[in-house]
């Protein structure tokens, strides 16, 4: 078999696998609508404001409710030290100039 034929076979397989994964994404997205609706309903009924992603500190647990001085909340020289604090960015409202 020619090298070019083999290459195009490999490329076709990769394209096919990627297409299948995209189809999988589409199916999963459709199937997740019920679950997303339920989570949204829970948020609405309980008045929740944040996702439960980082539970290591109160200002990472409720990112949208955190104090404006979050990185320095323990004392003026207390820089942010939690790993999730470096993984996320500050809300745009804090970085925009008035």
């Amino acid at each position: 078999m020619r090298n070019s034929t083999l290459f195009f076979y490999c490329l076709s397989v990769e394209v096919l696998v990627l297409s299948l994964l995209l189809a999988h994404a589409s199916v999963r997205e459709g199937a997740a609508q019920d679950s997303l609706g339920e989570k949204s309903a829970l948020v609405k009924r309980l008045g929740l404001t944040d996702l439960c992603l980082f539970t290591e500190a109160r200002y990472t647990r409720h990112l949208s409710q955190a104090d404006l001085n979050t990185p320095f909340q323990d004392h003026p020289l207390s820089l942010e030290h939690f790993p999730s604090g470096s993984f996320t960015q500050p809300p745009t409202v804090l970085t925009q100039q008035p």
Binding site: S4, L21, L36, E56, L63, F87, Q89, T92
Partner: protein, 416 residues
């Protein structure tokens, strides 16, 4: 047309043979390239999906949350302020919230304690979208979806708790078990687990504990004249920002947080072009660029001689460039597809295994959740232009110089 295709195929045949002659170097390049695409694609898939999921879930969050600020920090909210807010034109309702954190030294985890809104326990006529089941709820009314609350015949009452699935997992407790809490005055409160929240809702409720108002106040010693914050509903949704401004103007020690700000928070924090990811990624990209540039521009003596021989046997400069174009395209297309496929599997099948340590951080309690794969053409196009195009161009430009050299000079190892 057939002749053109055949010519391309012959050039690809030759290019692949040429690549396979330098197996180790080219397989190393392909592996590194795939790794770069994998990291970038994983970051994009993860951040986009979580942002999309956050926007869909949090669209039901309160229109305005109002906090009291004291010395720049969140403070308890005096109940007396509620009437003042209620009198503001445009305000439809004000509801107090009681919530806080409890550190469990046994497992080193922080829990979020929350008293559910009053209708949560009394109003049985919820809309269909609120799929909360109790012992006498008609499950048929909520459709085939599994209810989020698993009360199993018990409802929230003084002395009981409803806990998130993450807490049940970390503490290995379930309905009917008792959980001890040390109150503000040192006394121990034993609360019975009345039920658990569904595992499907872990992304919002993993560390949540629903507790009655009386128990909450007893646990934290908060008097009835204070609450944690309040939720304000507005008659006209277009006036939310105006009402928030009026609240701030009327009571200057308050901080209103509107729903748009909550949604924007989640839209901005997981920006793949920012945060720690860009630091990690830029270092990797820089290493790759140096590697690719070195490979493309610093032709080895063997490669230089190969070009010389090709030109001597009749190849045009354009043929040599075409060959190098295919070399770049073969490597970059293979790496692109493999990287994207691996990234998809990584994020949506293995639960972002590589990112997990960074996401968990120092948390003892981390939610188990499956991200919904939200993939669109824009993400794949961006990835393609960020990875395939730069490499292909980076290999073409330096080759131009090499392809135009004299064959005799190239074969004599001179002209370096």
């Amino acid at each position: 047309m057939n002749a053109w295709i055949e010519k391309q195929r012959y050039i690809i045949d030759f290019t692949l043979s040429s690549l396979l002659r330098r197996k180790v170097k080219n397989i190393g390049l392909l592996a590194l390239y795939t790794l770069i695409v994998f990291i970038l694609a994983s970051t994009m898939f993860f951040t986009y999906s979580i942002k999309k999921e956050a926007s869909l879930i949090l669209k039901g969050s309160p229109e305005i949350v109002v906090q009291k600020i004291l010395a720049g920090r969140h403070d308890l909210f005096p109940v007396g302020y509620i009437d003042t807010i209620r009198q503001i034109r445009g305000v439809a309702g004000v509801e107090s919230r009681l919530w806080g954190y409890y550190y469990d030294s046994l497992v080193g985890a922080n829990y979020t304690l929350l008293t559910p809104p009053k209708e949560e326990r009394t109003d049985r006529s919820q809309p269909k979208t609120a799929t909360v089941a109790s012992e006498d709820a008609d499950t048929g009314a909520t459709g085939p979806a599994k209810p989020l609350f698993e009360l199993n015949g018990a409802k929230l009452e003084p002395g009981t708790l409803i806990i998130g699935n993450g807490i049940a997992r970390v503490r290995n407790i379930t309905q009917g078990d008792y959980m001890p809490f040390r109150a503000f005055d040192g006394t121990v409160m034993n609360l019975r687990i009345a039920g658990t929240l569904s595992s499907r809702s872990e992304l919002v409720s993993s560390d949540l504990m629903l507790i009655t108002e009386a128990d909450f106040r007893k646990l934290f010693g908060i008097d009835t004249q204070h609450v944690t914050d309040v939720i304000v509903t507005v008659k006209n949704p277009r006036e939310v920002a105006t009402v928030a401004g009026k609240i701030k103007k009327r009571l200057i020690d308050l901080r209103p947080i509107i729903r748009d700000e909550i949604l924007r928070t989640y839209d901005s924090i997981f920006n793949w072009r920012g945060g720690m990811m860009i630091v990690v990624f830029s270092a990797a990209v820089l290493a790759f660029v140096i590697f690719a540039w070195d490979k493309a521009s610093g032709l080895s003596a063997g490669e230089r001689r190969e070009i010389g021989i090709l030109k001597a046997v009749g190849w045009e400069t354009s043929d040599v460039i075409l060959m190098k174009f295919w070399e770049g395209a073969i490597v970059s297309l293979s790496a692109f597809f493999m990287g994207v496929i691996l990234a998809y599997v990584h994020v949506f099948f293995t639960g972002s295994l590589v990112f997990e340590p960074a996401l968990k951080g120092w948390s003892s309690l981390y939610p188990n959740f499956d991200l919904t794969p939200f993939i669109n053409a824009e993400q794949l196009t961006t990835l393609f232009f960020l990875t395939v195009v730069p490499y292909t161009v980076a290999t073409i430009v330096p080759i131009w110089r090499a392809a135009t050299i004299d064959p005799d000079t190239a074969m004599r190892h001179t002209g370096e």
